[in-house]
Every structure is written in C-alpha cells, then in structure tokens.
Amino acid sequence: MVAPAWICLLAPLAGALAITLLGRRISRRLAGLLSTGSVAVAFAAALLSFLAALGRDPDDREATSTAWTWLSAGDLEIGLSILVDPLSLVMMLVVTGVGALIVAYSIGYMHDDPEERRFFAYMALFVFSMLTLVLAGNFLILLVGWGLVGLASYLLIGFHHERTSAVAAAKKAFIMNAVGDAAFVLAFFLLIVETGTLDYAGVFGRADELSGTVATLVALGLLGGAVAKSAQIPLHTWLPDAMEGPTPVSALIHAATMVTAGVYLVARMHPLFEAAPSVQDLTAILGAVTLLFAGLVALVQTDIKRVIAYSTMSQIGYMFVAVGIGAYGNGMFHLMTHAFFKALLFLAAGIVIHALLGEQDMRQMGGLRRLLPRTWVFMLVGALALAGMPPLSGFFSKDAIIASSLAAGGGLGYFLFAAGLAGALLTGIYTFRLIFIVFGGEPSPSVRERLHTEHGEGPVSMTATVAVLGVLAVVGGAVQIAGIWHPFADFLDPIVALEREHLALVEPSVTEDWVTSALAVGLGLAGIGIAWRLYGAGRREVAAPRAVRHALEHKLYFDELYNGLFYWPASGIARAFRSLVEGPLIGGSVTGVSSGARGLGRGVGHAQTGYLRTYALAIAAGVAVLALVFVSVR
C-alpha cells in the first residue's frame, strides 16, 4: 500500500525533471507524452495503492512511511514521511486521474504554443506538489506541498508571461495565498509550542488537551490557509483573475484539485476543528456566504471562463459548508464529483475557445450547437451535473450536503440549508445562461468569422479526454446514493469514526433526503427555466436595476475595497516616506556630507598660497609659539 504511494508521489516529479533537463533534445510532442505518461503512472500507482487498501481490514487502512529524518531541532524531529489512508487515497485518485486526463488534453490544446515543454514540466510539477500536499505525513511536509502548489499555480497562471494581465494575475494569486499561508504557519508555530510535535497522530491525539483559546487560534490559522487556497471569501479575489492561465490549467488547478485543498485540509485536520466549534461554524458560514456571493456574481460575468470560475468558488462553498458541519464524507464526495464535472466544463469551454481562436467573450458567441455538436453534448452533461439534475453526479453530492445541513439543525443548520437551496437556484440560472448564450440561437457574425474549421473540435486527445470526463460526470455520483448505499462514506469512515462519539452525527434521515432532493431539483429546474426565459428564448440581457448590475459586475467591490484598504495606504505611506524621509534625510545626509567636505576643503585651500615663504613663515611662527609655550609653562 505504501510502496505504490511513493511511486505515485515521485513519478510526476521524475517527469517534470526529465522534461526540464532534456530541454530541446526532445520534441515538443514527446514532452507532452512524457508529462502525461508520468501522471498516468502515478494514477496507476494510486489505483494499486487503493486496491491494496481495499484488501485490508477497514480499520487497518492507515500506513505511515518515513524515508528519513528530515529535520531535527531539540526534541522536535520531523521525518520525510507520507501518510496513506482512505482520505489521502481518495485525493490521490482524483488528483492523478483527473490530472492525467487534463494533461493528455493539453497535448492537443497547447499544440501551437511555442513554449509547450515548459508548460508540461510545470503541469507535472503541479501534480507532484499536489500529491505532496495530500500524502504528507506531518504538518511540515503538508506545508511544503502547500507552498509548492502555490508556486506551480503562480507559474502556470503567469504562463503567458508576455501578457501583463497574466503576470499581474499570477502575482495576485501568489500574494493572496501568501496571506493565507502566513496564518497557516502561525497555527503551526502555536502547535509546536503547545504540543511539541508536528506529527499528525501526535497533534490530533492531544487536540482535546488544547485550551479553548489556543484551539480556536490554531483552527483560525488553518482556516485562513484553507480559505486563501480555496478562494473563499474574504481571500477569494485571485481566482477569477487566475483564468488568465491556459484553460487546462484552470481545469486542473483552479477547478479540480488545488482549490479543493482547503476542503481536504479541514477534513484532514478535523480533530483540531472539532476542538474549536466556533471556527467550525465560521467555516460553514464562510462557505455559505461564498456560495451565494459567487453564484450572484456568476450571473453577470461575460467571460466564459470566469463564469465557470465563479461557479467553482460557489461549489467549493458547498464543500466548506459540508466540512464545517462535520459532514466530511459528503464534502469529499462533492469534491470528487465536482472535480469530474468542473474539469469537464472547463475542458469543453477550452474546446470552444480553441475553435474560436482564443475568443472568450460569451457575447461574441452563439449558435455553436450545430457547429460543435459533440462539445455541445459534453457541455450540457457538465451543466446538468453542475445544476444537480438527477441522475448525474452533482445531484447526489450536492443534495447530500444540503440534506446534511438540514440534519445538522439549529439556526445555523437552517440558514445553511436555505443558502444551499438558494445556491441551487442560482446554479441553475448561471449555468444555463452560459449554455443558452454560447450554444443557443443562430451563429453570430463573429462566430462565423472566427470559427476555425480546421481545428473543429480539436484532435482526439482533446475530445477523447473530455468524453471520459463526461462519462465520469454522469456515473461518478453512483459511488454513493443517499439512503441506498454508501461505500464512499464507509471507506472514509475510519478517519473520522474515532471522534464521531462527541460529534452530533449529521446523517440525514430518509425523509430529509427526499425533501431536500425534491426541493433542490425543483429549484434547479426553476433556475434552468428562468435562464431559458431570459437567455434561451429571448436572447437579451436582463433589465436589472443598474445599481445591482453594477455592483455584481464589480464583484461587490471586493477588489476596490482591498485597493482602498491595503494598496492605497501602503503606496501612500511609501510615497510619503520617499518624499519626506528618503529625499531629505537619507539622500540629504549623504549629499550634505559630501558638499560639506567639499566646501570645507575649498575654504582651507585658500591657506595654500603656493609661496614657499608663506610656508616657511608659518613653520617659523609655529616654532616660535611652541617655544614661547614651553618657556612660559615652565
């Protein structure tokens, strides 16, 4: 179980290194194949590891393996270790499985790019980083993975480094994540001080001993990191801009894997979060607020990738709700199905963008239904899954979360339930707004002009991978059907089972499941109906009040707020220091010293007449004075 996990972890690293070191000695196509191959090997290894785990007793599916002691300081010993357990296995399978498909898709998508090799090296590096994150056996390795995925994300968002907007977006993502990472690291320091170890087992074993304040602070710090990585309010502003990266990057990093790391983190650290119930509630509330906010903003976006990006934020909001109320299994379930259908949507959108030679503005699109028939089917499947229509995967996972929040009960539970249902309505509207605008109606003049007929729907590497994801998006939900069978939850159970006793168990009853499903599907259908009335039949923009539209188009002014709160004061202080301190004080002191010395020299220089007799007289006078002094002092 452990040996394949090591292979799984190291294969993508080997791929990245090979592509980097071989450079121009291999063809661009081979670089793509190498990258795909290394991730596929990782997937095969993950599958082996998973099968080995299935063969074991359910309580014996956890294994730690330490390569060597990586760091030791005093009593603190930190090994280079990985932890293989059901939770990391699920993540390994999702990351490498979806990752392999997306990297394979990139071979076709990135075909015309002159810097293909760099792209594939980065992609393999990302998969390695993400695997480090999910396989980490202690907090420090987790932090290494956490930082590496941030780096890979930065490199890939800024892949088109000749575009200033891409570079700015990359920096924005890095800085917003650094804010979260700082909170994350502070929590680690607190853990070292309080528990004296960074081992998962060691820390979790002592989670109950932490005092209330410490537990809350630790959980808050961890939540800060999770919120930044998963683009939840208030550290979400980087994700829409991250769409500057190539579309496969958006699919892999900013939809399927990296942005869900926050959900994984909360699930992994659940003993710490359970020790701080107020932070758990905060997690759920942030998730609910984000899912509503992102759903609303998605209604007015015009860039096809940004619509999907906001939808990603919204869906991760659902997952945060789930892990916030302790329904870890449901959160991970939605993480998995979301990875399938969101990667599908992104890659299908990638085909559209590819066919239209880079056009991303939905207002320029239309009538692609007949021109790109297969893409239309893929996109429709993804959209239906996203909107939670039965029997597609999104239906099972999203309804499970909403039902869990109903089962959690209390004021918070009902609020989350209402938010989840409202989110279902919004999801229906914005998803099918995209579908109707892009695929419905007649081809627009711009489409006729730009459609690259030779490209069509792209090479097999693109359509085949999207088709596989489409199948997964349809059947992926079958691993767990509420009330009928739940192997997924059973598989994950050992991780959370130990602490289950003091947790209010959030298992919705059958009635709650049915009521929730009926409501959610009804609202989703209503959303689709609204979208049809507004965008499908009429194809016109809605006459919303201008203030509302304006606010949504500016994403509720978060960017402006952060500009006002952080950027302007900081640059103002910097400017003030430049004109008040740097100029007169620092520069002034330097020039003052030099000009003072020069003036003094000029003054003293006048004493140097150049006449020999002056010098001689000065010496004589000096001697005379000295003689006088000696004589008189005695």
């Binding site: 140097q608 020999l612 007799r613 004589a620």
Partner: protein, 102 residues
C-alpha cells in the same frame, strides 16, 4: 675653563640663525634659500656644541654630528631638485613656483 663665556657663543649662534631665517624668508633664488637653510643649521650646531662644552659631556657634539649628516643629505636632495628645475628650463624663482596653491 678657558675662552669666552657660553653667552657669546649663543649670541653668535642666534645671529647665524636669524641671518639664515631672513635669507630663507626673503631671498627668491632656491639656491640661496638652500644656503640660508644651511646657515640656520650651523647656528643650531654652534648652540649645541656650546652647551655641550658648558655641560662637560659629549651628547651635544654627537647631536651636532647627526645634524651635519642630515644636512649633507638634505643638500644632496635639494641641489638635485634645483638642477632638475634648471634642466627643465623652469625659472629659478621661489615666487614663481606656486603649483601648490590651493
């Protein structure tokens, strides 16, 4: 003890020193300035030897010998400089050699 009193010797030494000083300060030819400098040194030597005689020990005489040695070397350097100046057709006038003006 024979001979005039030490005061006389000192008086002669003072006259020599003053003469030399005036020569250094007033004359314009570097050669004469060097000569005047020698006169000053000899005035000092005379004073040293007079005191040595009065005190009855040899220290002053040894000092005078040292001064003579230094003076000889100084003359070598000084005359060398003057010859070099003359060779380069520079005017031998200390009032015109004012390159050190600040």
């Amino acid at each position: 003890m024979r001979g005039p009193d030490v005061t006389w010797y000192l008086a002669v030494a003072g006259v020599l020193f003053a003469t030399g000083s005036l020569g250094v300060l007033l004359r314009r030819s570097p050669l004469i300035v060097l000569l005047s400098l020698e006169i000053m040194l000899n005035g000092a030597n005379l004073a040293l030897i007079a005191f040595a005689r009065q005190q009855g020990d040899a220290e002053g005489q040894i000092f005078a010998l040292a001064v003579m040695a230094v003076a000889a070397s100084e003359v070598v350097v000084g005359l060398g400089l003057i010859v070099a100046l003359a060779r380069r057709n520079v005017a031998l006038d200390v009032d015109k050699l004012t390159t050190l003006r600040g």
